[in-house]
């Protein structure tokens, strides 16, 4: 412990100097990203100002420069032109911003963009299979599972993630598993029917 203290202090004072003087020391060609020593290790500090990020979305690499406090939803919509995920409540309640991160549905309004780096992200834009709708998307069309459509992209993504984990759900499991998505038009009956249709489709051998 004690032999670690010296490098720590060096890191500290260097950082303190940077803060006090307002200078941002950057590695050339890399914007607002520097390494600071902490506990003998180099720790990446992002910001202040925009920092470069790399994201893997729908199996494609994307780069952007964002403030460290920018959410994944904001980065998708404002920086990457992926506007499928919708900003509605912006407080982790309505589900319109749902994306799949490493196989699990999450609210992209509540994940920092910098935190999503190195993870596999799937948005509604990634569900089409060539020219064909994903079975969940087709089931939404077939069952009139949308009205105004604003919650639909998040709902479709949540349904896909749900069916990946529960290929043969009961209606009760559907209700419970999709409780994190709200539709103010009240299309829940259609959504439930769509999920059950898509799950039957899977039994027939279709893969999502």
């Amino acid at each position: 412990m004690s032999d670690e203290k010296k490098p720590d202090k060096q890191g500290l004072s260097r950082r303190g100097f940077l803060k006090a003087s307002g200078i941002s020391l950057s590695v050339p060609l890399v914007l607002n990203y520097r390494m600071v020593k902490a506990a003998g290790a180099e720790v990446k500090v992002l910001g202040p100002g925009k920092a470069p990020i790399q994201l893997t979305i729908n199996s494609k690499p994307f780069t952007a420069e964002v403030e460290p406090r920018v959410t994944l939803l904001e980065a998708l919509r404002n920086d990457l032109d992926l506007t499928g995920a919708k900003r509605v409540c912006d407080r982790a309640t309505c589900g319109a911003c749902t994306v799949i991160m490493d196989g699990k549905p999450v609210y992209s309004c509540s994940v920092l963009a910098i935190e999503a780096q190195g993870k596999k992200i799937t948005t509604v834009e990634g569900l089409m299979q060539g020219e064909r709708l994903h079975p969940v998307q087709q089931a939404f069309v077939d069952n009139d599972a949308q009205q105004c459509g604003y919650c639909t992209p998040g709902f479709v993504v949540a349904c896909k993630a749900f069916l990946d984990k529960n290929p043969n759900p009961t209606p009760e499991e559907v209700k419970r598993g999709l409780g994190g998505n709200l539709c103010r038009c009240g299309t829940y009956v259609g959504v439930r029917a769509a999920v059950l249709q898509a799950s039957r489709g899977r039994k027939g051998g279709q893969r999502g």
């Binding site: 720790v43 500090v45 407080r91 609210y107 309004c109 910098i114 409780g179 994190g180």
Partner: protein, 288 residues
Amino acid sequence: MSGNSTAHSPRSLDEAYEILSHTAAKVIAGGTDLMVLMNARQLDAEEFLDIWRIDELRGIADEGDALRIGALATYTDLIRSPIIQKYAPALVAASRMVGAVQIQNRGTLGGNIVNASPAGDSLPVLAAYDAELEIGSRRGLRRLDFNQFYTGYRRTALEADELVVSVRVPKLKADERDFFCKVGTRRAQAISKTVMAVKAKTENEILEWIRVGVGSVAPTVVRAYKTESLLAGRAITADLVEQARQSISLEVSPITDLRSTEHYRRRVTGNVLARFLREVIDSDGAGI
């Protein structure tokens, strides 16, 4: 949005402690509480310590008489863990009632503890289980009883340079039982009106001891110590169920807010405890 935010993303606890020792960085894990405040502009943090990538804070381990749960265990991790299912079933029940699946995938047990909401769904379970927190900083590790962690509304015993590292939860023994019940407006996404967890040792209809944790009925999650004493060592009769219902209704100190009223909360907290006691009678086969 301010243009001067900074984020630290350490990979080890020592690095995180170091950063906390000289900055006022706001610690962020799954972000399910913090991001809500930030998006609503109720919290304007400029410096973050993102602890999500610190593997030392993960993992759920069987340590003999207790389970050690890393602070970054998500509700989904808890729901899926065979040892939590077996030895702390009320924690699984609570985790299933947190938000919705999108929240369960990101929200963490440590985050629920440190966020210090009186309505945190997992907290009554930790109270009833007499959990113990492992708290770390550059100065070392210390242990603190969960039931001594909250010092007031949204206030904790955590120092500015400290992190909750893990939670030690004593295992449910074969002759003990637990219980969890959350009352809210809607199953998903609702913040509770009252939320209760119980751990008890019963033999036939005799309650050897009982520990009751309750949330949303006081400035912090609380233990109903008076009601616990009333019940300890007694045979559960219809009369005792009524006494317990009365006792806990008076012992809690709820407020009226937009989610519920004081009156409703007192009454329903009593009803929930009565429900547990009747379950004991039903399952132990003793008639009232």
